[in-house]
Symmetry: C2
Subunit: 257 residues, 2 copies
Amino acid sequence: MSDQQERQPPSRRIAEELRAAIMRGDLGDGDQLPSERDLAARYATARNTAREALGILQAEGLAQAQHGRGVFVRLRRPLMRMGRDRYSRRARNETGLSPFRIEVERQGRTPHTECRSVTTVQPPAEVAQRLGLDARQEVIRRENWYFADDEPMQVGVTYIPTTVVEGSPLATEKKLGRGSIYQRFEDLGYPIARIREELSARMPTPEEVKGLSIPPGVPVIELLHTSLDGDGRAFEVTRFVMRADVNGLDYEMPVED
Amino acid sequence: MSDQQERQPPSRRIAEELRAAIMRGDLGDGDQLPSERDLAARYATARNTAREALGILQAEGLAQAQHGRGVFVRLRRPLMRMGRDRYSRRARNETGLSPFRIEVERQGRTPHTECRSVTTVQPPAEVAQRLGLDARQEVIRRENWYFADDEPMQVGVTYIPTTVVEGSPLATEKKLGRGSIYQRFEDLGYPIARIREELSARMPTPEEVKGLSIPPGVPVIELLHTSLDGDGRAFEVTRFVMRADVNGLDYEMPVED
DNA sequence: GGCGGCAACTGGCTTAAGCCAGCTTCGATG
DNA sequence: CATCGAAGCTGGCTTAAGCCAGTTGCCGCC
């Protein structure tokens, strides 16, 4: 044991040894870690100290506890690659699918989307700004949940100026039938030509943990998407919250001069 | 107290009440939370139970403990917006600066970059793949650390095929003098024309926590960047690890057909 | 062979008590 | 007025013990 290790409190030292075992591959995806009681005996320490060590690994996203079963190395999962191409007309025309469905099917899973509400609201300030609206102007708010094999992957809250969707089922209906929302915008005279995507990452709120079934130690990616037509008009803003253990972004694009 | 709250263990209920106070704005950025001992007295509970509650908020990125001082609401900081424009020749020519420096100065802070090593290595598999190399072919590896006002913001490990930088200080020198690495690539016959950026988010490793001074409950954004020239040749791959509390990405781009 | 119950495993969470170490504030002294 | 030391605040961490609740495996019985 190195000098640095010697000075560490036992909970951190135990965590360090378990982490090293995971990193070396001695403990692989899905493998069970020693129990709290087992570690306590093995390291001649209190059960709570061992439990603290396991908690450190969970907070780092390396392990996941299951009540009554044990603590397991968290599975590293293939990420869904969400990219610019998901908005392309070619992708839409070839498959008739929305960007999310394309990617889920690419992974051999069954996509399923659920619109949970359609309301008329005043937009958040950052949304109003991107839509070029006065904050008092109301917009249509659609809340969509995205699943793969019944597993929640992300949630998207879409804001659309009422003028864009007057008379369209987009303004009133949860169920829109098959096809992409962007085909509908095109039919309404708003063909998507440019997008802006602003990304950040943070820890999920308890509501997001619950709604998206996010394991401990897993952050979310927050993606603020703006759609613009050929004239540069923003006609839709969507705030996505994506589980970071199953979602990634993948952009390929020219460098502007 | 609602039925749901009534059934929650005390540590979660205390956390919930503190979280609500933060969300309501009753506790603002930088405000001190009640101490462990104070909460224990107030809720007639054990100090460790109160401590557990504060730990929940730290894990969510809402609070930060300081040894001997207290627990404080974590500051929400303005994000540096890293985007496609950071690679543009116009931005480079107008400022003579690298993309990182442009953004730090935009925030009124002092940028500072430090190359910590230049070595020749065999690339990781995912890097070899993106550079179109056999994994046995060696590449130049440069490790750069990026600071704003002496605060570490991100680290980037750059891989460049040796053929691209033969005879260039890029292959051998830590200090490159003023100007952008992409100007040097242009001078070497590799003008950047396209980029690919693959993004994900995760919790940082202990080494990253230490090196980047990441507060608890703050994830990192991992950005795998590939630079391509006009012929579609990849000439550089950089893996960035960015503190998610101070970095965000911001892309505006045409939708491809 | 299937089913149910029980024992033994597991994690979830609390308690009371304690000691260590960092930081802040206040009072005494020069 | 400045400095230093002590007291009192703070968080870091452990201990021993305990009880609750979920899961699993095994054994007995039908």
